[in-house]
């Protein structure tokens, strides 16, 4: 957990320093108070003492208490400020780290786990810091201070105090050994529960259509019971701790007195009085020592969960970014709008079979290159290598003559307009979604947004809405239909004005008519741009300058529609499945 402290800023360390100073001051004030207290006690018990003396000592004591209060409030503010800053910094670091990670690393963590790590886990650590730092600093200071006051007073009593501390330490260590692993499990089960809830929410229509509410609820119940069972264990382990602590304190004081009684009884008259005084002082300071340990124990009670959370945060933060950022920019490019694959193979880590095998092709400026093939043949994976969502396992991917791995990632992506298979929209307005992101140029003007919407065949339905460009888009675009979402995400790519377009099976969600019109408009609009299309429909790609046919990750055909019909049996089969014989002839 302490590794996370590197996220405290210099200013926060300064605050921490002030907090420590204030705490020392406050402990000093607190330990002064008993002196005035005993003075008042003596004065109040002594007949004929001056009223003004009592008031004076009372005033001093109140001044100490007031000073201590002010110091504590200041410490409280500093601690709150440090912990709030810390939480803000760590969650920002996490958020940005996740944005930098490659898709395969993100998949390894699972999205729902990353969400819990960025929010819930950070809260856990923050709570610990807010409560923990004060106690963690204050209790050792108090303990040491109190110990120096009783040091060497009496070995029997010292031994008993040491024994009590020993018992407490053993209890804390035992709990750490048995409970810490359970806390790890609790967070894991929380992830699981989170995942099941997400799944139910995202598939709500399917769940209802299948009358599977009970099924989902049972699944949830199962995870919920597991979580509750594990949590109960940890809660009950701690139920044991606090009464034990008090028991130790009470018995320590009791035994100090009882042993004291024997010591005093055995001592000679002169020693009796000083022994009695020592006993009272010893018991009160021994109590202070134990109390400090009790406070430390409280820290340890909240620490395991925070520690597990911290570890989970570190796991993310310390994940190696496989995609190393390069240095080259668009200015270094040797050509404009070209894409070349040189003997590219790709396999997911741990997979037996590569997804892509030895793919080579090139696309020149202004060309349209299409990829077609059966489901699972590797088309999407292939185009995902171009914006560097993954890195090729073997071979090279070149954009504008430069290996994609040598580019600064943002520079590489500035060149590309990517539209994913599944339309992704963000909470905001239509305009904010179209203007989304940054392409290294000036922000798109409204005319540009309208033009993009027009090309993407989305202008009509957007302009019909009362708020037009300012119409609200809900999280994930849930207030638009599938086709509308897809057209908006195409418009987003167009507004970006890229050199290279990548349409990853984007058009399948559109009806034929929209698809046809859209592509025609797009062709007009993207005359100079290179277009890479992954498609299912022959109609979508018939006119491409180059069609690449994939089968099981291998390139089994490359050429124009007519050539492929003759030379490539796989392509011919695909075409036959979609077009009637006369349509094939006409083509």
């Amino acid at each position: 957990m302490f590794r996370l402290f590197k996220f405290l800023s210099k200013k926060d360390y300064l605050k921490l320093f002030f907090a420590v100073v204030l705490i020392v001051f406050q402990v000093w004030l607190d330990l002064r108070m008993p002196d005035y207290m005993s003075d008042i006690t003596v004065l109040a018990q002594t007949e004929g003492s001056e009223m003004s003396e009592i008031l004076k000592n009372g005033g001093f004591m109140l001044a100490c208490a007031g000073g201590s209060l002010v110091a504590m409030i200041a410490v409280g503010y500093l601690a709150a400020s440090i912990s709030a800053n810390f939480a803000a910094t760590v969650s920002r670091e996490l958020f940005m780290k996740v944005e930098r990670l490659g898709l395969s690393e993100i998949q390894n963590f699972s999205t729902s786990s990353l969400i819990t790590r960025t929010t819930n886990d950070v809260s856990q650590v923050q709570m610990f810091i807010a409560m923990g730092t004060q106690l963690l600093i204050k209790s050792p200071i108090t303990a040491v201070w109190a110990i120096t006051k009783i040091l060497g007073k009496n070995w029997e009593w010292s031994l008993m105090t040491a024994g009590a501390v020993g018992i407490l330490l053993v209890a804390i260590i035992l709990i750490l050994i048995f409970v810490l692993p359970k806390f790890k499990k609790v967070q894991k089960l929380t992830d699981k529960l989170n995942g099941i809830t997400r799944e139910n929410l995202s598939g709500i229509r399917v769940v209802r259509a299948f009358n599977a509410e009970k099924y989902q609820e049972n699944k949830f119940d199962h995870a919920n019971s597991n979580l509750a069972k594990t949590q109960l264990f940890t809660l009950r382990a701690f139920a044991f701790l606090s009464p034990l602590m008090y028991l130790v304190i009470h018995f320590l004081v009791l035994f100090i007195y009882v042993v004291g009684a024997y010591l005093i009884d055995a001592a000679n008259m002169l020693d009796k009085i000083s022994l009695f005084g020592d006993m009272v002082v010893f018991s009160s300071y021994a109590m202070q020592v134990i109390m400090s340990f009790l406070m430390l124990a409280m820290v340890f009670m909240i620490m395991p969960r925070a520690q597990v959370s911290a570890r989970r945060i570190n796991e993310v933060l310390e994940t190696k970014e496989v995609l190393k950022d390069g240095t080259k920019t668009a200015a270094d490019a040797k050509s404009r709008g070209s894409v070349e694959f040189k003997n590219v193979s790709f396999s997911y880590s741990g997979a037996k079979e590569p997804v892509l095998k030895n793919i080579s092709f090139s696309a020149q400026t202004g060309e349209t290159v299409a990829f077609i093939g059966a489901t699972g043949s590797g088309k999407s994976t292939l185009v995902n290598l171009i914006p560097r969502f993954f890195d090729a396992t073997k071979g090279k991917v070149l954009v504008d003559g430069i290996d994609v791995r040598e580019y600064k990632q943002s520079e590489l992506r500035n060149l590309i307009g990517y539209v994913s298979q599944k339309a992704v929209l963000f909470d905001g307005t239509v305009k904010s979604n179209i203007k989304y992101g940054d392409n290294g140029k000036a922000e798109a003007k409204d005319e540009k947004v309208l033009e993009a919407l027009d090309v993407a065949q989305a202008k009509d339905f957007i302009m019909k809405m009362p708020d037009q460009l300012d119409s609200h888009v809900a999280e994930g675009g849930t207030n638009y239909s599938g086709g509308q979402k897809q057209r908006l995400s195409i418009a987003r790519a167009i507004a970006r004005d890229p050199e290279i377009y990548i349409f990853d099976d984007t058009f399948s969600a559109l009806d034929y008519k929209t698809d046809a019109v859209l592509r025609k408009e797009l062709k007009k609009h993207t005359k100079d741009a290179t277009v890479l299309i992954v498609a299912q429909r022959i109609g979508t790609i018939m006119n491409a300058d180059k069609i690449i046919v994939l089968e099981d990750g291998k390139c089994v055909g490359m050429g124009k529609h007519k050539e492929l019909l003759k030379s490539c049996p796989v392509y011919r089969q695909i075409a036959e499945s979609q077009l009637s014989p006369e349509e094939l002839k006409n083509a």
Binding site: A80, A88, V98, E99, I115, L193, R205, F240, T375, Q578
Partner: protein, 594 residues
Amino acid sequence: MPSPFNVEKPQGKDSFFKNIKRFVSELKSFNFVILFALVMAASSSILSIIAPDHLSELTDTILAGFFTGVDFNKIREILIFLTVVYILSALLDFLTSFIMAGVSNSFVKKLRTRISKKINRLPLRYFDEHQTGDILSRVVNDVDMMGQSTHQAFSVLVSAFTLFIGTLIMMFITNWQMALTALVASLIGFGFVGSILSKSQKYFTARQKELGRMNAHIEEIYSGINVVKAYNGEIESNKKFNRLNERVRNANLKSQFLTGIMMPLMGFIGNFGYVAVCVVGAVLAREGVISFGTIVAFMVYIRMFTSPLNQIAQALSSLQATAAATERVFEFLDAPEMPDEKDLSAEVHAEKIAGKVDFSHVKFGYKKDKEIIHDFSISVKPGQKVAIVGPTGAGKTTLVNLLMKFYDLDGGAILIDDVPISEIKRSDVHSLFTMVLQDTWMFEGSLKENIVYNRKNVSDEKVMGVLDKVGLKHFANSLPNGINSDISENDSVSAGQKQLITIARGLIEDAPLLILDEATSNVDTRTEEKVQRAMDELMKGRTSFVIAHRLSTIKNADLILVLKNGDIVESGTHKSLLRASGAYAELYNSQFSQ
């Protein structure tokens, strides 16, 4: 669409008490156990009021024995008595804590279960308007918060109150003037703390709310990460994140600070009371009203009196965070549910359904002021295959949503075998349909689990058979553990394969009516041909509704409806519609236009 967060409710003392009251009333089912635990907590407090008295008796005995020798019989007596008291008190504390741990744990578990059930009882409309991330934050963060206070706050409050009242009684019995002094001194402090508490509630509510908002943003970005990356959207999303994060930070700072100053404040009040008691005691002693022993006794009492105040203040401030969490959890649990269906008596049995479906003057809009389907009427005979085509946004999927009773109609009726679906239970309507959607949805689990889903007694052979039909047999065999291999939303299963799995899931369900909403849009056409054969087989004798972009798949439909802006603009068979050379012909020919 209105964001749920735009409505800021006034926050303050009232909402704090309202929420706590709600929280306590939700604990009702644990009444007896909690009462038992509270009685134990109170008993333990009473024991701790007794103990100091006997401890001072111990010192008195030692003092008294200075000249005559210590009375060890008495010491032994006290030792035994206190040992019993301490052990008993520890035991009671342990049991209270143990029981409350169980109570809070099962309370939290029940709350989570309720939320999970609630999800399935809310109308779909609710999810159109609320963010997944925010709902998740309620299930995890807010429920957690409630659990923590059930565990601690209540037992602490009760034992502290017992100690407070017990000491108060003891004080008044000993001396009323001194008791009054102690009471007034403490009450000044209490009023002070109360005023801080009432002002600070809004910060705790703000904290939970801001956390929810940040959660929603994180959810959105993490799940659309490839687009964020492709568009260099990091800068923009970071800007938004920083804005939200800053608000969380501010709310955190304020609420944390207010929690933090409670304890020192109470400590000060304790010392203040101590001084007040000593001063007043000294005055009274000089006047001869009280003895010195009384002063000593009050010095102990005032400590015992203010330390529970300290605990109460702490418990109350932790309850503030709870109140905020409670509000959010119950806001969700109290959201209006789908209409109750207990009174719906229409009996439908999947095996007896002929499959006649009528839409009669159906009107519908997702929002009240925006009608999407206007006066839609068709009649479908049993066993017919109906294809719905039309440009995106024409309302095709909306029709499916209505047919499945996902949404209630704004006007008109949908009838199945002449029974309006408004009179059939939703679950019965669902059981009549096999539905395959364009949105592929998979969950963490094995391939088999994803296909079998909630059906029972499905053999492996049947699963393999279905997989063969959709062309996934090879895929299944290539997995390390065959159909028992884990696949999930995140694995490298392609969109097309996911869709095939979804179709397989539909094929295993055997219902009299069939809905295919773009079921094969992500599948390549060669595979589709194969799947199509399987589905044609399935459609035999069943009334089916097919939405498709690829018109080749619906050429053989009995009835093709061409939809535009929620109205039927054309209807007929493939041949008759082509001959009419209207909208359908145009759509059809656009497939081949260059």
